[in-house]
């Protein structure tokens, strides 16, 4: 009889025991697959939040822009970058950036002003449709402004209100303009909520005297291309004179959130595997102990220790594959269900991490390694847990083993 068939029959000899082990393993695998799916989903939630709400997948600035964020550090290659990106199917938007003071009656607030091309922003990300009230800038300019939600609260400003925007222009003179509130953004994380005022780039030029110069180009392939490829497209035009950064570099604290989630998920999986492995070790040990007499007879009949070791390991492998696959399948089904339905987090209020808000529905994300890692891991744990009893069995002395009661 083939050794595999023998292992299969051995498993069937004690159906109760096999059943319990299969159940325990399958349940653990299912939980692990669901857990991985949810963790990948959380990564998605955070990174999509960062990419869609303003930053894009990649941002390009002049090298000198850096920490100073000086209005003089403009990006001369901006137009060429946008043109090249669009020819590759990547959406791109130019932004002129500056600081200023926005005031409404006795209330005022320092703001970060984004001069944008409204149409390009609409194609790039979700911010233009992420509105609490009013509308995002129309395609024609007219001294309109869109405010972050917290900024609107601080200023007590509503759609239609007129606010004074005071800035220091390129020539160091003070420049003032009355702006009409066109819209108020929905909360998009602290990076944007409390400080950002979005105006048309033509109005920005008039106010700051930037004359069409911009400070930033944001690029997004909407997750269709790997980030490195988007970086390469921007670099091919911008060369070494510009900083081309992925959102991870622009928002290191957000990238760290993703890393921390990943590594704590790794720790949790380890604990899950260990808990399941211990249960299994018990079953395997019991099976081996129960069959000491049998092993003794086999050895007396000439079975080598290696043969016994591989027999036990084979049983474990069969048991493990069966249950891990069953558990994986159930887990995957659950992940698909959680991907289409998701868990509503809105009862916890507006969620944001590291200044970037994310959607309030947490969906699982089905992926190959989210299933393979738990399934193969569980299989490995099963075989590993069987090795100790297998070694014990293989080392038995036939006479003592046969006498074992």
């Amino acid at each position: 009889m083939s050794p595999w068939r023998l292992a299969w029959r051995n498993l069937q000899r004690n159906r109760g025991r096999t059943g319990i082990s299969v159940l325990a393993l399958a349940v653990s695998t299912t939980l692990l697959v669901v857990f991985h799916g949810m963790v990948y989903g959380l990564d998605d939630l955070v990174s999509r939040g960062a990419v869609n709400l303003g930053v894009g997948e990649v941002e390009v600035h002049a090298k000198a822009y850096g920490l100073d964020q000086s209005i003089y550090a403009t990006l001369p290659t901006a137009d060429a970058i946008v043109e090249r990106a669009r020819s590759r199917g990547i959406d791109a938007a130019r932004r002129a950036l500056g600081g200023g003071l926005l005031s409404s009656g006795e209330k005022s607030s320092g703001v970060r002003i984004w001069g944008v091309d409204p149409a390009a922003e609409r194609a790039l990300g979700k911010l233009p449709s992420h509105l609490k009230a009013g509308s995002y800038l129309p395609d024609t300019n007219g001294n309109r402004v869109v405010l972050g939600s917290e900024l609107a609260r601080i200023l007590g400003a509503k759609v239609g209100d007129r606010l004074a925007l005071i800035v220091q222009a390129m020539d160091a003179s003070t420049s003032t303009e009355m702006m009409t509130v066109d819209g108020v953004l929905e909360s998009a994380g602290e990076q944007i909520d409390g400080t950002v005022a979005i105006i048309d780039r033509r109005d920005f030029d008039a106010l700051f005297g930037t004359d069409g110069k911009v400070h930033e180009v944001a690029l997004s392939s909407h997750f269709q291309l790997p980030e490195e490829q988007v970086v390469a497209v921007a670099k091919s035009v911008a060369g070494d004179a510009a900083d081309v950064q992925t959102w991870r570099a622009v928002l290191p604290a957000v990238a760290n959130v993703v890393d921390i989630t990943r590594s704590s998920a790794g720790l949790f999986s380890f604990v899950f595997f260990a808990a399941a492995g211990l249960g299994l070790l018990n079953t395997m040990l019991m099976a081996a102990t129960e069959r000491i007499r049998e092993y003794g007879i086999l050895k007396a009949l000439g079975a080598t220790p290696w043969r016994i070791l591989t027999d036990v390991a084979r049983e474990a492998f069969l048991l493990g594959s069966l249950s891990a696959c069953a558990g994986g399948a159930v887990g995957l089904a659950a992940v698909f269900a959680l991907e289409s339905h998701g868990i509503d987090l809105s009862k916890f209020g507006k969620l944001s991490l590291s200044g970037v808000g994310f959607e309030s529905v947490w969906r699982a994300h089905a992926s190959a390694d989210g299933v393979l890692v738990p399934v193969l891991g569980m299989l490995l744990v099963t075989v590993a847990a069987s090795l100790y009893p297998a070694l014990k069995a293989a080392r038995l002395e036939p006479v003592k083993a046969i006498a074992h009661v």
């Binding site: 004690n14 109760g16 025991r17 319990i20 082990s21 325990a24 349940v27 653990s28 939980l31 857990f35 920490l67 100073d68 000086s70 209005i71 600081g99 200023g100 003071l101 005031s103 009656g105 006795e106 209330k107 005022s108 607030s109 320092g110 970060r112 609260r153 601080i154 200023l155 007590g156 005071i166 800035v167 220091q168 409390g194 400080t195 290191p252 604290a253 990238a255 760290n256 959130v257 921390i260 949790f268 604990v271 260990a274 808990a275 399941a276 211990l278 249960g279 018990n282 079953t283 040990l285 019991m286 129960e290 916890f348 209020g349 507006k350 969620l351 944001s352 991490l353 590291s354 200044g355």
Partner: protein, 415 residues
């Protein structure tokens, strides 16, 4: 012999099996308890730091300030609030604050900022900001006359300013007039939050009052710091009762810092779920072990039943065996987890070097504390303990029922 003793002896009959099961449950419980205490510690430390740096656990404001903060919406009598606080022993200190928005300008350009006027005499002792100075020093009472302020590293870099340099703050005063004030930088801090390091100017209370035109008895907010943050609910009720009739509203930190509150609520829930799963998996080994031992002891049970043991008694015995395993494993695990959490609380776990660029995640513009000190509460122990016990009992149902489902005569005849 009583049932518990009998069950215990049965468990001891197979020491190794029992030991492995106990190790599994104990490590599951210990891990769960440690993680919950750790997360509690991170949440509470971050919230406590925020409360101490900003407006306390309990904040008094003008009723209309929350909806549209403006310098004209201030608390008219700080003295009255201090009198209230002095009657409540749980309140450790009172922080009058003047908060506002403005723009600071240097030769290199201008940046929008939030400014915060604090009392240097109080703040130096309570605020975490005072411990995060990287250059120069924190505010001292003499800065009130010298117009000394502290700014974040990123703001200083952006404005090309350093210690001793001057910047101009532009804001609006209580009458809606645009006002300017020349300020001198005496210290530079780094809190690990882009928004604060790049957009907060902290100045002496007297300076901020002068700029926006408030008297010495007025402030935009009055914060109460609690010695024990857990007494918040009780104290807030007391404060509300005492200020009734005055033109002020009393808030909890959770209203002022909603991002922190949602983070704590969702994080706590999330970790309870994950720990529940760990405990479930660990408890599952009980099912494995007990069911296996029931199947293994068919003959023994048949014999007992043949000799007249009532099925109920037999079931009770099996049930008690599993619950004993659960209780013993859980007790060991809770002890281990608690010891671990207390040891970590004493020594602290410093993760500051393990995140890239030291960029800690931030919540509501506040950097999450990476010096982890677990906080172990009785509630956590009760949560983990009761979860294990309930799960154990549920899990024990099937093996218990199964134990007496034997055909006595056939089983005895077999072999």
């Amino acid at each position: 012999m009583n049932l518990v003793k009998l069950a215990w002896r049965n468990l001891l009959r197979n020491k190794r099996r029992t030991a492995i099961t106990l190790v599994s449950i104990a490590s599951g419980c210990a891990f769960a308890l440690f993680v919950i205490a750790l997360m509690d510690g991170i949440h509470k430390k971050t919230i406590e730091d925020a409360a101490r740096m900003l407006a306390g656990q309990i904040t008094v404001e003008h009723p209309a300030y929350r909806d549209a903060p403006g310098p004209a919406l201030f608390v008219p009598s700080v003295g009255a609030m201090q009198a209230v606080a002095s009657k409540i022993p749980e309140i450790e200190s009172v922080k009058p604050l003047v908060a506002g928005q403005g723009m600071v300008a240097s030769a290199a350009g201008s940046v929008g900022v939030a400014f915060l006027g604090v009392d240097p005499a109080i703040e130096g002792d309570v605020s975490p900001l005072a411990r995060h100075m990287v250059r120069g020093r924190f505010l001292v009472p003499a800065d009130a006359d010298a117009r000394g302020v502290v700014v974040g590293t990123k703001l200083a870099a952006r404005m090309h300013v350093d210690l001793g340099n001057k910047v101009v703050l532009t804001t609006t005063d209580v009458h809606g007039e645009v006002v300017e004030e020349l300020l001198r930088i005496v210290g530079i801090f780094s809190l690990g939050s882009d928004a604060l390091d790049g957009g907060l100017v902290e100045m002496p209370l007297a300076v901020s009052r002068r700029v926006i035109g408030l008297t010495d008895d007025e402030a935009t907010q009055v914060g109460f710091l609690l010695g024990d943050p857990d007494s918040e609910e009780q104290v807030i009720a007391q404060v509300r009762a005492m200020v009734a009739g005055q033109p002020v509203t009393v808030y909890s930190w959770a209203t002022l810092l909603p991002a922190l509150a949602s983070w704590e609520a969702s994080g706590t829930r999330g970790h309870h779920v994950i720990c529940g799963v760990v405990i479930f998996l660990a408890s599952f080994t009980i099912l494995n072990t007990i069911l296996m031992s029931v199947l293994e002891r068919k003959r023994e049970f048949a014999m007992l039943l043949a000799l007249g043991t009532s099925p109920a008694r037999l079931r009770a015995q099996v049930f008690i065996e599993s619950v004993l395993l659960g209780v013993a494993g859980c007790a060991a695990g809770l002890a281990l987890g608690a010891a671990g959490a207390l040891a970590a609380a004493r020594h602290g776990i410093d993760l500051r070097d393990s995140v890239k660029d030291g960029a800690a995640p931030t919540v509501g513009n506040l950097a999450v504390s990476l010096q982890l000190r677990p906080i172990l509460t009785l509630g956590d122990v009760v949560f983990v303990g009761s979860l294990v016990l309930i799960l154990t009992m549920v899990i024990a149902i099937y093996p218990t029922l199964r134990s007496t489902r034997i055909h006595v005569a056939n089983t005895l005849r077999a072999n």
